[in-house]
Amino acid sequence: MKTDVIQLFENPYLALGVTIAVIMAYLSVNAIMLIWLERKLSARIQRRIGPQRGPFGLMQQIFDMGKLLSKELLTPEHANKLLYVIAPILVFAPVVALSSLFPITSTYIFHDFNIAIVLILAISGINVIGIFLAGWGSNNKYALLGAVRSVAQNISYEIPLILSVIPIVMITRTMSLYDITLAQGTYPFVLVQPIALIIFIISATAETNRAPFDIPEAESELVAGFHTEYSGMRFGLFFFAEYSNMIFACALATVLFLGGWRGPFLPDAVWFFIKVYALIVLMMWFRWTFPRLRFDQLMKFAWVVLVPLSLINLLITTLVLKIV
């Protein structure tokens, strides 16, 4: 019924190469298009027109890419050269590695992994270290402050994020994303776990450092936070990582709560991407609607509101599952 890339190509190395190529190509194009979408959307929300070069302003992104690619890669004199260069890679690499786990269609998947959720939660934590090394390696006080904030924020919001995923695992008794999608045959889990979805979206917004949780890169306080000292494509890599993390979080929410590829009439992949991009538009809408939180408000919200709420949700789910 389902075919993964290894069965398709009958050669694990070829399958690996094709998977990485497809994911890298998709994530690059996706990041470029999402930046365009974000600029157009923010323009609409603020009653502006937004970029206008080419049809729908699409050429603007091509020019921006050319600019980023041709810029000189500056390294600050007193920066720690090795950490400074490694950090952007460390921030971007986890998303690329994890994107192969998502079942986009019911027939062709990259790979169905029986502990996919544990793997996702484990490896997505690595980019915190990348952000910290970026801030520390730059030898810049704004960068370091941004990194400190980012680590604190990521640790705090990772807990409600994990706690909001656990009820789904308890209901389906599986950690494979493919099987979780299959389990949502009659109804998507958003109907039984609406609170978990809300907690997940809020935590994911915080994990991706986006407004109203963009304290690590608050431009009015910290220049650009942890990537203040980065230029050219190294800065571009942080940008790619942010938009790739967004699509990653939205894809995870789609699989866990919205039924993944499931939907009437249209082909599987179309439904999957409709749901993912709807969530992305929602996250962009947040960014241009809500003001930035203060740091103490941010921490308090995570520990006083989200963690207890997700624990209560977990408890109720346990009781209901025990009774039913």
């Binding site: 502990i115 544990v118 484990a122 934590g125 270290i129 910290f132």
Partner: protein, 166 residues
Amino acid sequence: MLEQAVIYTFVALVLIGGFMAAFSRQILYAIIGLGISLLGLAGLFLNLGSPFVAAMQVLIYIGGITVAIVFAMMLSIAMSIRPPDPDTRKLGFAIACAVIFFGAVAHLIRGAQFQEIASPASEKAWSVGALGHALLTHYNVVFETLSLVLLLAIIGAILIARKAST
């Protein structure tokens, strides 16, 4: 051949990371070394055929412990001060302890009668379900004792921190 190379790469990661963690004068490098070492360990678990344990290793030790150490370090002055020069007496004591511990472990390993057990018939034997079942039935007492020890460590850390601040 390729498998051997992969195993030795992971072993090298563990050793290099360990050396970095133990001998670097800069505390951040020590933490990075610890992270590299733990990553190598996760790779070894993966190689032994248990992706779940490898993923947990990454989740808890790299995503949790290493990040927590980084976090604690950021809030202290440890990052900006120069570490004191090594004390030869302490160094000698540490080396002696390390040699004795290494000797004891090496002796135990050399004396142990390892039996080659057949690799588990199916992936089921190593599955998450089997592990969870074993932890909550057969190894229940060990499991609970470990969590109690962790709780004690947390309470102890809080007590020490409070005493230092007052």
